[in-house]
Symmetry: C2
DNA sequence: CTGAAAGCGCTTACAG
DNA sequence: CTGAAAGCGCTTACAG
């Protein structure tokens, strides 16, 4: 039996045989052992290997187009250099989808920058016992970014107990699990403040979703805080509830317009819901922003395209992904504990709030 | 040295030690060899193993919560059970992003149904020599779905030569590489025919992009074919060019409206561009569909939300992903050759074309 | 400064 | 019907 299987093959033979080069081949060509090849190519520190030897190894590796086999490396290292991204189908899917490409781009770039890959898994029913646990058990991933976490997810709690690195995109209150999320309170506060600063005092609120959604309750809170700081009492008759969808905004806005007097401005805590609100305003023969000023939340790609372009609070989708990945990589590589991270939003002023129109008047 | 390292451990010991069970552990608990464990758990056919033995193996495997190590399995089998999805940044990113979640869902479900995983890689510059080749060389994936292929991509041609399974999402004309794409010609033809059937004879066209984009040229062709079949001459003065973005639609439509007489209907070969066209029509004081009827292409999520809701040609995003994955899996598993597959579009009638309004009139 | 050898956890001829 | 043994391609103590 032949122990050093192919060390007598030349690079040309390899190509002819369409066989990938192994570290054995590189070692043979460079005239060193596999140990040395591994040490050099992985840049292991505190190892005394002459520059000449290193150069020979690098050269041989290039000539043979050597790429280390990922499976072999994973097997011996116990690490895969792969992040698992678990996407859960939640009722706000339409909303989440609008940001998915940006979030994935953020995750991907942070991962790539650290030599990691991204394994993507969409899960319909996250509470199914083995929805994504097998990825961990089969050692396909070194850590998880979980989007749309749920409190009744048993796998999540179990992985957490075992100390497996997990970062949530979104929050699971009281769970103590590291997360990256938007600062919904501050964002909503800024949105309401913008309308207040424009002189509005009777400002309605249409939530993005029912209040049992964390983000929804937080955005309501931010709106209240803004009113309070400006010395304006909270009036629950000015609050209506959206449910992620455009239709709910239409209805909610119609109700607000029926009040007497109706609000002069409305903060809608979701762009999609705001699009519905815009329809209701227009079909009532009113103008935006002259009769009803509007500020949305999220800055979905289409917010700039609607008529009038929607002033809104930008959710930092790319950064959400990038920071989640960075945190997870820290947990994996530096064995750091994760934390809870709230990202700042940004006010994007377009036409629907009325600021631009006012500026134009002042200039004229 | 201990060869059978832990075969004397019980399941409880494993849990206490927080060590994953190996096939060795399962073998020990079931009182058989690792060979038998592998044969039973993998359901290898034409192997005579008693039902009793099989049952013991399954039981032991369950009790120990055994999951085969993916790296070890890949190493010996030479297969990863993983599909690589490569996303290239092309100028139509905003457009492609709108469909990405659905496409990924389609790919994911087809993959999962066959026991495969999905590795996602976003690539800014696809022509960079090692943009995604390393995934193949390191044996991280068994096949590739490439979205947004380019003719100057050297890696692609090389992989193709080597016989590595690749399916394009989109086409690379003349390359002979298997692909899944939308039937743009038929789709555009249907869109134009719809307007013809509503009585329009002077129908403008705004393309989705410059004509050197395959999809753009194809959609123009479909529009021409429809006109010809209805005996209407092609009039190039009725054609304007979009560039993926909304703004281009605004300009193009303004030019069409300046014609005398202006077209009574316009087929816009992209929803996003159509949104711009809608703005131009409205800001010109005209009504949709009474003064200018409109049909778009793509059916982006927001097409139903604009005012009026846009009649459009639906691009089957989920199916695009699912079929590409299915084809790739066939190539990997059954060693089949891939083919070129054009998926049908669907006319989605909403308000902008005028059919609904006409139906309502007939009923009244 | 460098190499021989063990071992990661599987699968698969091969032998009985 | 079942098991002992080789081997997939790496990394990493360990020895010199």
């Amino acid at each position: 039996m032949m122990l050093t299987r192919v060390s007598h093959f030349s690079g040309e033979d390899l190509v002819a045989a369409k066989r990938r080069a192994t570290s054995q081949d590189v070692a043979a060509r460079a005239g060193v052992s596999r140990t040395t090849v591994s040490l050099v190519l992985n840049g292991v520190p505190n190892v005394r290997i002459s520059e000449k030897t290193r150069a020979r190894v690098f050269l041989a590796s290039q000539e043979l187009e050597y790429y280390p086999d990922a499976a072999a490396r994973s097997l011996v290292r116990g690490l895969t250099q792969t992040l698992g991204v678990i996407l859960c189908q939640t009722p706000d899917r339409i909303f989440a989808d609008a940001f998915l490409p940006e979030v994935l781009r953020g995750i991907g770039e942070a991962a790539q920058g650290n030599g990691f890959r991204v394994l993507l898994q969409s899960v319909e029913d996250i509470t199914r016992p083995a929805a994504y646990l097998h990825l961990v058990r089969e050692k396909r991933i070194d850590g998880i970014i979980l989007s749309g976490p749920r409190a009744d997810d048993q796998q999540l709690l179990r992985l957490r107990e075992e100390g497996f690195p997990v970062v949530l995109l979104g929050q699971l209150e009281g769970s103590g699990i590291p997360f990256v999320d938007v600062d919904n309170i501050a964002g909503a506060k800024r949105g309401a403040e913008h309308l207040l600063s424009l002189g509005h005092r009777r400002i309605g609120l249409i939530t993005n979703a029912p209040l049992h959604y964390t983000a929804s309750a937080q955005r309501l809170l931010g709106y209240r805080q803004a009113l309070e700081e400006w010395g304006i009492g909270f009036d629950s008759s000015l609050v209506r509830y959206g449910d992620f969808h455009e239709e709910s905004g239409k209805k909610a806005m119609a109700q607000l317009l029926d009040l007497s007097p109706p609000p002069t401005a409305v903060f809608v805590a979701s762009d999609l819901v705001a699009f519905g609100a815009m329809e209701a305003i227009k079909s009532g023969g009113l103008r935006i922003p002259q009769d009803t000023a509007l500020v949305g939340f999220d800055d979905v790609p289409l917010a700039r395209y609607v008529d009038p372009p929607l002033t809104t609070i930008r959710l930092p989708a790319y950064e959400l992904g990038a920071r989640a990945a960075a945190m997870l990589l820290d947990m994996i590589q530096a064995k750091k504990d994760g934390e809870g991270l709230l990202l700042d939003t940004e006010l994007v002023v377009r036409e629907s709030c009325g600021l631009r129109a006012r500026e134009a008047m002042l200039i004229e």
